[in-house]
Symmetry: C3
Subunit: 146 residues, 3 copies
């Protein structure tokens, strides 16, 4: 079996719990929180609702993200993400799922342009070896150099 | 950019891992666990299956929750939630996603009436400033007074 | 109200953060990580993308899993799971959701045959009473003997 996992041991370095405000950009706000609090490694989770959203899908064959918009209000049924470094700055990589009034769910890679209606989030910072993103030849994605 | 995040520092105050029983009400059971263990701040996650479900969608323009039912068995593909206070008592706010036999996913705000078939959950309690829910004029939702 | 929750107190015993490689089997790789690091109790979460997937749905009336395949690339919009023991060995129980180029989401019980394109994961190990899976008569599932 193919098995190329690479993992680091990390330790907990602090937790934050709170909310974003209506009109905040979901991705950019979490990024700002990380920069303001010097969170360079960690995890984030959130539930809430958005007024509209921009999500991405990575086209594995074309090696390019395709983005699409949801222009109506949705629940954030989950936001799951991690925090690491790109070009020396904290970068948030998050995937989200959003549900409509019939419960139908759309999801993808969280992009700027996703606007918060209400959002409750939990962030945990880790201490450990830095994880820096760099171009991965195998996938075309900015993965961790480990 | 709009940026109205408000966060508290919290610390870990205990973890629980276990299961619910067949026939338990998913939301009410997690709430009872929190009351029984005096968990007033924290996070919860779960996977499992339900016999049926009641989920909500917040209609942002009408400022009212609309609820809908799924009357057939589904997998719980994720439950993500937080624990805080409302009227001085622990309150669980959770969003769930549920999949059917074709893998189709429905999701929304977890409401009473969602009945467990099997459920494995992890709860983490936090120490930190109390988060109390009160009516938020901007959204009509019971958000945290921070 | 029916209320049959059984929970154990657990404590944090280590965290790992890292990635899987392209071509890795998603479920089997996480299982191997747990065995290699002697993680016998814990939680796992991940985001990323898969080349193809095999997911399951438990048919509650027939008491059997039904499996189905997604033969095209998808984002991993969430993987949420737990780690416990079966026959004395670490066993990963995870549910995943996967989104396509239109953002449509499919989900279910993660099965072998789900092949990683890229995957970023976080594992937390717990110390606490062992949780061993054994056949549960009520559901037909290998649930925790507690």
């Amino acid at each position: 079996m193919n098995f190329m996992a690479i993992l680091h041991n990390v330790t907990s370095a602090g937790r934050w719990m709170g909310k974003l405000g209506r009109g905040d950009d979901l991705l950019e706000s979490i990024s700002l929180i990380c920069r303001d609090n010097n969170i360079r490694l960690g995890r984030v989770e959130a539930i809430g609702a958005v007024e509209k959203a921009v999500l991405g899908y990575y086209h594995q064959q074309n090696r390019a993200y395709e983005f699409f918009s949801l222009d109506t209000p949705h629940e954030i049924t989950s936001l799951m993400g991690n925090i690491s470094l790109r070009d020396g700055e904290p970068m948030v990589h998050a995937h989200v799922m959003l549900s409509d009034e019939k419960g139908m769910v759309h999801g993808g890679h969280l992009a700027p342009g996703t606007i918060v209606f209400a959002c409750e989030l939990i962030i945990e910072a880790f201490d450990g070896p830095e994880l820096n993103r760099g171009m991965d030849k195998e996938t075309g994605l900015p993965l961790w150099n480990m």
